[in-house]
Amino acid sequence: MIDTVVFYLFAALAVGSALVVVGQRNAMYSAFALIVTLGSLSAIFGLLGSPFIAALQVVVYAGAIMVLFLFVLMLLNVKREDSDATQSPGLRGAAILLGGALAFQVGVVLWGYRVTAPAGFDASTVQVARELFSARFLYVFEATSILILAALVGAVVLARRER
């Protein structure tokens, strides 16, 4: 009962701040709104029985990736009143219509989707880690670490000032 209340609270917060991300003209405010969205999603992850992913969401997404975004926004000195308005209303209408169509299609599928969920489920970190290092996912794990290394080197090289 209290789970449901907390869930809807955070869901409302997530949708509200997502609307700010999409609608706000100032990119810095969008970034802060995205941080709020990520935080509320982390709370929902916790409610869905994955505390490890909830903590990881805050550490990786809200704590690192968004800091990166904020750094870039500050360094590039994004003008505060960035005009996003010179777009034809026809295109805007078409965009919102297409988004609505997507939501409708997937919503129809989800509406009829019912699977009985097990009553209690709380994946501890040790379980998730054991799954990560199991035979199914070990290769993916190592490949991902090489991917991160490549991204690290790539980001440093791309952003370097040419001498």
């Binding site: 802060f32 800091v67 970190t125």
Partner: protein, 340 residues
């Protein structure tokens, strides 16, 4: 009272108690720091307000309360106001999972001396300290001042670089205890002085204390708020209570990392001579005081690191050392058949 109401009541009492203790400790710490630093520097420190200057924190508080609150022109108002709040909130949030004593039985139920006993306790602290970077970033940017912006960027870069070394230093401890819960990590250090993680994971302990000093921006890593660099760094434009809030955030962060270090590496409330003297919260307090005094001692002794020295030390020395520590710990555990 239903169990839920009982839980809420107990949690409320714990929260109020820890809040009170933290605020008192913050005030006392400011006094201790100024006196201890003064004695180390062969001068006296505050000794006029009250006996031995003990009322100095109160005088500071009253002074800050009555100062004029200035907001610079062109500052982004909401973010400027929110930044000290974010800093203080994250500072207080991280203390919620730090235990300070053995669980005891009262009213027919077990009460842990910890506000929230999370299964992912250490990950939670990592998450909250990642959020602490935002207080600094927001404060630096919102003041519409290029020096605070630079100071904020440097401070936040320092914070999350050393957070990495901090987190990596915990991995060895987690491997030894087999859990992220801080209660279990403390329990895994039972059995005398030689079981403490400061002895079994000495390298991790040193890395932790170094990274913690950098994380809370204490000397020798206090470039972000060094009074002689960049005016006052990212909190230049704050005055009165907002400045007091930023200072409170810094001190509470320091107390948190010291308390965490006590629990993770020095055995928390466990006694070093379990057969002679029993475990109690007093041991925890004693170790906490030792670590806090260590922070003050460092401030009085070491010069400040330059920014590039600081960053290269964090990335090129601490992180590789922490990784080596993890590898060696994992290797020894696998050899001994740990199988966690």
């Amino acid at each position: 009272m239903s169990p839920l109401q009982q839980d809420l009541a107990i949690a409320a009492v714990k929260v109020v108690a820890i809040f009170g203790v933290l605020l008192t400790l913050f005030a006392v710490m400011t006094w201790v720091e100024r006196r201890a630093l003064a004695f180390m520097q062969f001068r006296l420190g505050p000794n006029r307000t009250g006996p031995f200057g003990l009322l100095q924190p109160m005088a500071d508080g009253i002074k800050l309360f009555f100062k004029e609150e200035v907001m610079p022109a062109g500052a982004v108002k909401w973010i400027f106001l929110a930044a000290p709040a974010v800093a203080v909130i994250t500072a207080f949030l991280s203390i919620a999972v730090v235990p300070y004593g053995k669980p005891f039985r009262a009213f027919g139920r077990e009460i842990t001396l910890q506000i929230a006993d999370l299964d992912v306790g250490l990950l939670y602290i990592f998450a909250v300290s990642s959020l602490g970077v935002y207080g600094v970033v927001m404060a630096g940017w919102a003041a519409n001042n290029k020096y605070t912006l630079l100071g904020g960027l440097r401070a936040s870069a320092q914070m999350f670089s050393y957070e990495l070394a901090l987190g990596l230093s915990w991995v060895g401890v987690i491997m030894l205890a087999g859990s992220f819960r801080i209660q279990e990590i403390v329990a895994a250090q039972a059995g005398g002085l030689h079981h403490w993680n400061a002895v079994q994971q000495l390298l991790a302990f040193i890395i932790y204390m170094t990274a913690a000093t950098a994380e809370v921006s204490r000397t020798p890593f206090d470039l972000p708020e060094g009074e002689t660099e960049l005016v006052a760094g990212f909190h230049t434009e704050y005055s009165s209570m907002r400045f007091a809030l930023m200072q409170m955030a810094e001190y509470v962060n320091m107390i948190t990392v010291a308390a965490l270090g006590t629990n993770l590496f020095l055995g928390g409330w466990l006694s070093p001579f379990p057969s002679l003297i029993p475990d109690s919260t007093l041991w925890f307090l004693a170790k906490l005081v030792i670590l806090l005094f260590g922070f003050i001692w460092l401030r009085g002794t070491l010069p400040r690191l330059r920014y590039d020295q600081l960053m290269s030390f964090g990335w090129k020395v601490l992180v590789p050392l922490a990784v080596v520590n993890i590898l060696v710990t994992a290797g020894v555990l696998a050899y001994l058949g740990g199988g966690r």
